[in-house]
Symmetry: C2
Subunit: 293 residues, 2 copies
Amino acid sequence: LIDDRSPIGVFDSGVGGLTVLRALRAALPERRFIYLGDTARLPYGTKSPESVARYSLQCAEALVARGIGCLVVACNTASASALGALRSRYAQIPVIGVIEPGAAAALAASRSGHVAVIGTEGTIGGGAYQRALLRLEPKVRVTSQACSLFVAMAEEGWVDGPIAEAVARRYLDPIFSAADTLDGAPYGGPYGDPDTLVLGCTHFPVLARAIRAVLPAGVTIVDSAASVAAVVAREAAMSSAAATPIGVAVPGSLRARGHVQWLATDGAQRFARVSAVFLGAALHADEIEIIDL
Amino acid sequence: LIDDRSPIGVFDSGVGGLTVLRALRAALPERRFIYLGDTARLPYGTKSPESVARYSLQCAEALVARGIGCLVVACNTASASALGALRSRYAQIPVIGVIEPGAAAALAASRSGHVAVIGTEGTIGGGAYQRALLRLEPKVRVTSQACSLFVAMAEEGWVDGPIAEAVARRYLDPIFSAADTLDGAPYGGPYGDPDTLVLGCTHFPVLARAIRAVLPAGVTIVDSAASVAAVVAREAAMSSAAATPIGVAVPGSLRARGHVQWLATDGAQRFARVSAVFLGAALHADEIEIIDL
């Protein structure tokens, strides 16, 4: 159950998780959030699973100490490497990662049973999406591709235009090469091209337009940020129903609707600047508290 | 003085410093080296100067504990943020960074007195090259540009071809826009376009071909890896002359000519794979010792 008076804690290695936060705020506009970007140690995607798990536990500890009622692991690498450890240590609150919701949304979207997943080297190399998809649907076929340059492009703000599309084409053409279009082609068998693409990195939703531009028509893009927000919103709704509040109204001013407390482990200036691409709104460096983990 | 029986220690946040190591091995084929990539905490380029200085001192400590006779800071960000602290703490050995040699080489190459510098956000934002150039030549004009995507491209091995050139053009055209060619144009004044480009990040030398392809003819590329190797070789030669060895020949087998001991703080597999782009030769993961800092 998600205590609806406590803020929801969200962490990522940096700014990528802001796409998840943005989706969460849209789905749950009444809630307060605490966002932690572990910018001193980004990126997680190239680090070993052991290091990522250790860092994740430290991030979670900082958020739990600030009284969160739910933890969202808004980082695919951390979700892949640390979700089990986080759920064991913080059994008192819901801990939600980005991989399971994305995998479930992909299976719901796919008609052919062939799903493509793109992410960082760490996420793809670790095989977490592949395992999550197979666990939910043993007959699914999965094609995966690490797209390391997408992270740097997103942070540089080069999110569309010829360079973004050329990079997207270089990564994605080999996956979707056989199909110019899915609509007219004989399609739907387990050996056809994938008809669903999971954006398995929280940075990637900001590149969705460039990615869309190079995909065959008819491929569904699954944004794991939107998928995780939907899961959290569903859990929150169930919790509210279960809690059956008996007239103890919390004043609006105290609830501070939609308020976000910003935490980072390094580089407030850069965090504020780069976050604009991900949040779609400017953030000031002095709104960000720098903490040591 | 550089003790010529001790290995030369070289560190970087990751694999970029391998361009410096490669230049050092070419300049000093008799020497042994210890290379440390602080891969658990890469990249330094987006981190605060305080964090970079702290990490650099830890890297240096690990190398000094292994008996190095000279420390090469093969990372522009670390050279910018930590050289003073390293020289204070390890006054007993020469500590050589990449910024001063690159700046000196750029001034020697430039006829116009206008030098362009490219690097990571941290290096360019910190202004270290700008300061080093002005300290050596107060009348120099400096234009600088952060090229964040170059690091990811180098590590992905996308070092030439249309995407590398398109990215290089997007970063460099604004700097060199006015000059189609330097040869025929009225050139040489302090207000002309730069005639020298410093590759102020150890990753960038592997992209030299793509960078060259988009530069106006006549621009000199200064590779700071080659510049630092030249400085170390000169210091080593002076040290050997000063030491005047009196017949104590060290057997070749013991000197282990050109041997490199490899250290990293995380991810031996990835280090080995990506290093091939930088070293021009394959490295095996089991040759790399993982250490904790």
